[in-house]
Amino acid sequence: MNKRKVTVAVSGLNNIDSPGPGIPVIRALRESARYDVRIIGLSYETLEPGLYMHDLVDKSYQIPLPSAGVDSLLERLRYIHQQEKLDVIIPNFDAELQNFIKAAARLENEFGIKTFLPTLEQFESRHKSNLFEFGQKNGVKVPYSKMIFSAAEIHQLHTEFSYPLVVKGKYYEATVANSPEQAINYFHKMNAKWGLPVIVQQFVSGNEVNVTAIGDGKGRCVGAVPMRKLYITDKGKAWAGISLEDPTLIEIAHRVIGNSSWRGGTELEFIKTNEGEYYLLEINPRFPAWVYLAAGCGQNHPEQLVALALGESVETQEKYDTGKLFVRYSYDLIVNLSEFETISTTGEL
């Protein structure tokens, strides 16, 4: 079968101890049976390891930080597109997604570059602060949560919550508080780090299980693979994991993606209680860093995403291998100073 040549720009090249999904996405695309890919790396920093992985990334460009806004991003992408003739962009950072979602129409209309991203409404609806309502709307259990804006509110929580409860930052981090005193302490820490509101959430005990999945934006989940973390780093990231046989979890993933008409890649994070109930903890609006496991199990989600972006047909994949593990490792790349100099001074490598 002749593979279609496509040029795909991918961000998230920070293949570090808390890895971005870029390199796993690229590895999956390199193994595509459908596409012969040229990979353009998009980086924010000069020490993102993916910049120097020349067997995976053909050419790299630095792009402006998300705080620079949509216009700066478009200006830079215009230049990159002139050089590389991009077909598809797959952004992989939470923090950059909003800009890419806002830029998507212009990317397509002005440059002909395709993306396949959640809508702004979907992006907002899965925020931690909105997740409880998302669960109610989409027929999935979510631990009861509430936004609080001052430490004084914690004394009133006993009417709605029992201890322990979870105190969560607006964007990242979560800590279990066993008493109001601890909750107040964590409230101040989360506020100082991530700002308001702080989210308090019902504590649910059980095993964490995650699903990497992809929705076609029309209510069809075209692929889903569940995984349980076997080894977790001190940053809470999976260093090893194993694919699971869990029809109930797959059914829930299909329901969530179907009901919400989710568009693009996603990671659904659940707690499975000892009684076998599933609680949705988080929806990440992009592929997880362990998405290559899905390709290893027979479902190439990044390939499906490229096909959806290009408007090509995509079959729903239901089969995958269970009991397959991923085990991460660290690896020292030896980099000539000239390469570091080039990316540092020209913004290209």
Partner: protein, 82 residues
């Protein structure tokens, strides 16, 4: 009580539960007990098989089997017959 259908058990005594991702290792006697459970043998038949093969009193074999079954239950590897 029977071993869940989706549990993978190798001849080396490695046990994998694809539903939870848990894996375990058992010694040859444990593996033998699992195989006998899989064959649908009753408790007394398993005890008989153990006492006839190993130099062990029936009461000891019964106790060991009961403990082993309890462990299999705790590890979510078995389920009650429907």
């Amino acid at each position: 009580m029977h071993i869940k259908k989706n549990i993978a058990i190798s001849d080396s005594g490695f046990i994998f539960n694809p539903g939870t991702g848990d894996s375990f290792s058992t010694n040859p006697v444990g593996l033998e007990m699992i195989r006998l459970i899989q064959e649908g043998k009753k408790r007394e038949d398993i005890v008989l098989a153990l006492t006839s093969k190993y130099h062990v009193e029936p009461t000891t074999a019964e106790k060991d089997l009961a403990e082993f079954l309890m462990m299999l239950q705790t590890l979510q590897l078995v389920q009650e017959n429907e």
